[in-house]
Symmetry: C2
Subunit: 247 residues, 2 copies
């Protein structure tokens, strides 16, 4: 299971590139398979639709059991809301005896929140929580409870999967929960498609953030009570959360 | 500010390697400056002691203002409890007019928790919090409050800086707080020096973890109520947190 890193080859680790070069088969969501680059001669690509994680994991384990050298690809870090979990879980919960000899390895990558943070300074420089706002695989009440607990304890919040066409109201509700504990002036990093040609990263405030402008390729970082934002004198804004915590 | 990734060149991004090759000066904690590898001809190294983050940031900004091409190095991701914060913060809080033309860039890296998780499966596959147990820069009461909130809301916990010779009792206290919300059978990943020759990664349980065996080069990942551990039939243990949350 190979982490491609955020879009852009310059953030892909040598370990990931080496495994992709060796693989006889590449399995993954269409967008990520395309991001691998051109296949080497003889390499077979197995792109699939989104939300097919369990089936994709089983396909990869079947291919590996048949003697193929398989790379399952995810963007960012495959261990954060991505394919490493699906593969490790399928092997445990619904094992096929044929998979017994399969040699499994996970190659970590730079996760989207790290790349987003780097573009704007260091908003993750102090304690933070990483939460997926998707309620496809967990009840929304769990998301709200976690947002409330994390915001109440003054963590910085890295929000993955903030919205989608199937989940139109959840982000506004999430911001309302966070707003119970945070000033409207709290810096929020809005990072879309970091590393790609479509990259757009900005620092706004919690009070001015319009959920309607956010899409599923965006990661949000909501500051804690100590997160600061400033202009560097050239018109560029930066944000950071101090390492020390003095209230 | 360049993230070296966890120990080992195979996890260092091409972006990081390119900046290190260009740099006229490398600034950082002695261990991380050494990890860069041999200097190219003419490259000046500026190693310093730990806990000198602010002074190191100012030294780097001074060198850059004088026209040098400076790489400030951190292991893992420089935005997570590391040097990116110190540089971005010093420039804001205690600015020197000489720094005005300095062009600042942060190169993200694979953070230690991602590397630790990859070695053992996917324990970070669901919502998680990243907390430094160091109370050098924040009151211990804040650490306890955050651990209590995060464990109570059933987050997985990635614990950085778990202990040191100056902080001998904090880890045991942290485990006591977490234990208010978690079974003694909860899987805990103990990952020491991942990627180095001294790497040691294991899955134990919350009830069996002995704080006395942990050192400052270790990252701990404490599972949520849904985190599972299993043996793959070859004697190797794996851990993961399912993407779906069903209680």
């Amino acid at each position: 299971v190979v982490g491609l890193g955020p879009a852009g080859d310059e953030w892909r680790t040598p370990a990931a590139s080496a495994r992709l070069a060796e693989a006889t088969d590449v399995v993954g969501y269409q967008r990520y398979v395309d991001a691998v680059g051109p296949p080497r001669p003889g390499q077979v690509r197995h792109p699939s639709d989104n939300r097919q994680e369990a089936a994709r994991a089983r396909q990869a384990l079947d291919l590996a059991a048949s003697g193929r050298d398989v790379a399952v690809v995810s963007s960012g870090d495959p261990g954060v809301f991505a394919m490493a979990t699906a593969v490790v879980e399928e092997r445990h919960r619904r094992p096929d005896p044929a998979w017994e000899g399969v040699d499994l390895e996970v190659i970590p990558g730079v996760t989207a929140a790290s790349a987003a943070a780097a573009r704007i300074g260091a908003p993750l420089g102090h304690d933070f929580c990483t939460i997926s706002l998707s309620d496809v695989l967990k009840p929304w009440s769990v998301v709200e409870r976690r947002l409330d607990a994390a915001a109440g304890a003054d963590f910085v919040l890295a929000l993955y999967n903030p919205t989608s066409s199937q989940r139109p109201w959840q982000l506004a509700q999430a911001l309302e929960v966070i707003g119970r504990h945070r000033s409207e002036h709290t810096p929020v990093v809005v990072a879309r498609a970091v590393g790609s040609d479509e990259e757009a990263v900005a620092v706004v405030t919690l009070g001015s953030l319009d959920p309607g402008t956010i899409d599923m390729r965006t990661v949000l970082v909501v500051g804690s009570s100590t997160t600061e934002a400033y202009d560097d004198g050239t018109g560029r804004r930066w944000a950071y959360t101090p390492r020390s915590y003095e209230r």
